[in-house]
């Protein structure tokens, strides 16, 4: 089946898969958003325990999504993986550090004799939910704005600044992208709590918090979108690389499928927020979540199609990366494409388990009765 596809088709298929994984990860970031709201929505110890228990049953899925996103990039676009991770060293290491401290925090936070104290683990969760997520946004934004790298004829790359990726923090688009992701995660968290918890005080505060976060999300989203559509992007043809004005805007309108999915995705995100705020819907997280997946998948797909560079080099335009010059071989992409057929099966069992675990909403009583609550 996949063997008959041309290499370019396989590269496009895999960029779509990577984008989809990015979208799924963006949806799961409500975990991180929730971590930053722990102190705002949970005013008592009992309330904090309920919030942590609610997030704690899902946090590993967001962690796994990040690992999977990295793994898919490595397998399908090894040159991108090598250039970005090996070059924007400090940014990726800071992100990883934020996820290391998340991994133990749920389990160790309330355990007796936990060495660092409960408060430290809560700070760890906050750092993961804020700095970690913001930096992921910044790192993803560099796919549009580029990085300071060069590569030689053997495709060995090196970074041209001593700040190894931290200079991306000086770019306004990158910053606004990071803030969009941060506030989207917090919006997702409030919607998730409305769906998952049966706790009046927390939900009351979540509705108030949602208004603030939704406003900030919208403001930064519009700012980011304006910058995205106004900025020039790097395109390529058989002659080489060249800049095109409003490249990403044209990518969107020249690819009707992406335009439709973008409108649909943004519409669902906004509809989710609207129903939660004005209709008191408890299922808004699903509209918002599916909308997030579609929107992020579309935004990442914008870079991989229509002969666009997926990682422009700011130091040497000819070193820039595309899905064509950074991908795995035809054989490997075919083999991995067969593996990708497992994705619906995996999503299926995640759905079944999620449904069976969330049949009833989490209450304080349930947490108190559970000896192994976080």
């Amino acid at each position: 089946m996949f063997e008959d596809l041309e290499l370019l088709r396989l590269q496009q298929y895999w960029w779509f898969i990577v984008s989809l994984l990015g979208g799924f990860f963006a949806f799961m970031m409500f975990i991180q958003g929730g971590q930053t709201l722990l102190g705002r929505l949970g005013k008592t110890e009992e309330e904090k325990n309920v919030i942590i228990a609610s997030l704690g049953r899902k946090w590993e899925l967001s962690f796994t999504s990040l690992v999977m996103f990295g793994g898919a990039l490595f397998a399908a676009f090894p040159l991108f993986y090598a250039v970005s991770f090996g070059g924007a060293y400090y940014v990726w290491m800071a992100i990883l550090f934020c996820f290391i401290i998340q991994a133990i925090s749920y389990e160790y936070r309330k355990k007796p004799n936990n060495f660092l104290g409960q408060r430290t683990y809560e700070v760890f969760l906050y750092i993961n939910g804020s700095l970690g997520i913001f930096l992921i946004g910044v790192a993803l934004a560099t796919l549009y704005t580029g990085g300071n790298f060069i590569k030689n004829e053997m495709n060995f790359s090196s970074w041209t600044t001593e700040t190894y990726g931290l200079e991306a923090l000086l770019n306004p688009f990158n910053l606004s992208f990071g803030l969009v992701v941060f506030f989207l995660a917090r919006v997702g968290a409030s919607l998730y709590f409305m769906n998952n918890l049966d706790h009046e005080n927390i939900l009351k505060r979540a509705r108030v918090q949602l208004k603030t976060d939704a406003l900030l999300f919208l403001a930064f989203f519009l700012l980011m979108l304006a910058m995205l559509f106004l900025m020039s992007g790097l395109a390529y043809n058989s002659e080489g690389f060249f800049m095109v004005e409003h490249k990403f805007f044209f990518n969107l309108i020249e690819t009707p499928l992406l335009l439709i999915s973008f409108i649909m995705g943004v519409g669902l995100v906004l509809y989710g927020i609207y129903t939660a705020l004005f209709k008191a819907s408890t299922n808004a997280v699903w509209f918002n979540g599916i909308g997030t997946i579609i929107t992020v998948t579309t935004l990442l797909s914008l870079i991989g199609f229509n002969q666009t560079s997926i990682y422009p080099s700011l130091s040497d335009i000819d070193s820039s990366l595309t899905i064509v010059n950074s991908s795995g071989s035809h054989y490997t992409l075919v083999a991995m494409s067969y593996v990708s057929l497992m994705v619906p099966f995996i999503l299926g069992y995640i759905f079944v388990v999620w449904k069976s675990m969330d049949q009833t909403k989490i209450t304080s009583q349930e947490i108190e009765a559970d000896a192994h609550h976080y």
Binding site: V67, L79, A82, E107, Y108, S329, M357, H373
Partner: protein, 508 residues
């Protein structure tokens, strides 16, 4: 100098993260199955004592599992951050098992982990049991794919070098998946995890017996732990033998270092215990050992399944041995340099459109491509890994592995005839064997990874070619950052674990 420092710090950082990660993974691999067995007994018998036992070990499992995840996430991304040249040169082959691991194993583990811990009252007994088994299977599937990747680094198969992209590309997925080296390593590695899990259960239960606490639950745990441990320690020994056989066939320098063998010959014995001559240099005529006790013929037999087999020593591999058709490292390095030069010529000719020159260069490259990696070595002695570290690590691992088998055998026997009470010395030995399990696991990985130096891909790619082009300061910064955070988290983990154990099984 700068390059050498960068290589050393990159090595040190990877070694640090791998050694920390391996402190926690074996227990996850083994304890997951032991818990699944205990829960199966509960579901079959309906005896709630088994449910309480299961929940107790599950609590300890979760504490360990969390820090295993924390130390594990860095491993995958470090291939990109610190070994970016490697990621490009072999990413076409190496990336696939890592991605499949995420898809097949991580999602399974993380999804069913939630049911295993929070689903007791939310799903049926059978669904819960299935979830526990799926967590165990998921963690072992994860090990499978990681060891497929690692096995390929030890014995690269199923690939070809593409001169146009200047990288190794996958040519046969099934060869990579069914690489004999990967399977012997996988079986031996999970075997060590099972033994570690058993040592943990038996050792902690022995502590309860010594303290006279939770006696019934401790005894039941010991029966499960020692039975699992005895079976899997036999499995560990058998898979270890197969793993060593693979080393003998594919990594002769590693085998020579493991045994401190400098001058090869037939009918070689295995050094059971011994002290290396620390003044010994490659090529000199001094004695290999200050003292040693040897099992005659054993290395020839175990390595090549032939008592008379010739086993090459370090000197044979460095300087060559015509009688045994072993090529010298110097000759390989020269051929490697020819391959590198031919590749360079090929690329220049292609760029300038000189097809005839490109074709000639390509033919030269293909003739010498198997030596390509050797061309990056500067000195013939570089092909030999650190002998003392490899030798002692190997012998510590083997000695401890034998001890674990004996321990499980005696404890299981005494448990079955109900004579374990009062055997204080044995119970203390069981407790002290827990850290020995960790030492055995770590030394095993030291043999595997230090023993294959200087190669990151055996005979194909030296470590020096594989690093990222980042500054030494950047790697030093992250090295100390990870050293501090992992140490702090490990202290937290140990304190939490000990407190949970001291609280007793009744608390669960």
């Amino acid at each position: 100098m700068e390059d050498a420092l960068l290589i050393d710090w990159s090595r040190a950082q990877f070694a640090l993260t791998a050694l920390y990660h391996w402190l926690f993974v074996p227990l996850t691999l083994g304890l997951a199955f032991i818990i699944a067995i205990m829960e199966t007994i509960y579901v079959k018998t309906g005896n709630v004592v088994w449910k309480e036992i299961t929940k107790f070990w599950m609590t300890l499992f979760a504490i360990n599992f969390a820090i295993g995840l924390a130390t594990g996430i860095i491993m995958e991304f470090e291939f990109g951050t610190n070994w970016s040249n490697y990621s490009w040169i072999v990413g076409d082959i190496f990336g696939a098992p890592l991605a499949i691991e995420g898809l097949m194993a991580f999602f399974m583990e993380s999804t069913f982990f939630a049911v295993m811990f929070f689903g007791w009252e939310k799903v049926s007994k059978k669904m819960h049991l299935l979830s526990t088994w799926l967590v165990a299977i998921g963690s072992n599937l994860s090990a499978l794919w990681i060891l497929v990747a690692n096995g390929w680094m030890q014995h690269p198969v199923g690939m070809e070098f593409n001169v146009d992209t200047a990288r190794f590309e996958m040519a046969n997925f099934w060869d990579v998946l069914f690489n004999p080296n990967a399977y012997s390593k996988f079986l031996h590695t999970i075997g060590s995890g099972y033994v570690m899990g058993s040592l943990f259960v038996v050792g902690i239960s022995a502590w309860y017996l010594l303290k006279g606490r939770d006696v019934v639950k401790a005894k039941k745990s010991i029966v499960v732990g020692a039975t699992f441990g005895l079976i899997t320690s036999v499995f560990l020994i058998v898979s270890g033998d197969e793993s060593a056989h693979e080393v003998a066939l594919n990594q002769p320098t590693k085998l020579a270092a493991m045994e401190g063998l400098y001058d090869g010959h037939g009918r070689v014995g295995i050094v059971a215990v011994g002290q290396l001559n620390s003044d010994k240099e490659i090529g000199d005529k001094s004695e290999e050992f200050a003292w040693s006790l040897e099992v005659p013929y054993a290395l020839s037999f175990l390595g090549f399944h032939d008592m008379n087999a010739f086993v090459p020593g370090i000197n044979d591999l460095v300087y060559g041995n015509e009688a045994e058709s072993i090529e010298s490292a110097k000759s390989k390095i020269e051929k490697g340099k020819v391959a590198i030069e031919a590749l360079k010529t090929y690329k220049e000719a292609k760029k300038s459109g000189d097809e005839a020159k490109a074709q000639t260069a390509l033919e030269t490259f293909r003739t010498h491509e198997n030596y390509f990696g050797y061309g990056y070595l500067k000195d013939e002695k570089e092909i030999i890994p650190p002998v003392a570290l490899t030798f002692y690590s190997f012998h510590i691992m083997v000695g401890l592995g034998s001890w674990f088998f004996l321990l499980f055998f005696v404890i299981l026997y005494l448990s079955m005839v109900n004579k374990l009470d009062g055997k204080k010395m044995l119970l203390r030995l069981a407790v002290f064997s827990i850290p020995l399990g960790y030492i055995a696991g770590e030394t095993g990985w030291i043999v595997a990874e230090v023993g294959r130096q200087p190669w990151v891909i055996q005979d194909m790619l030296p470590v020096g070619m594989a690093t990222s082009n980042v500054s030494v300061t950047a790697v030093q910064t992250t090295f100390w950052l990870f050293a501090i955070i992992f140490t702090v988290l490990m202290i937290a983990e140990i304190k939490i674990m000990l407190t949970q154990i001291k609280n007793g099984m009744e608390a669960h």
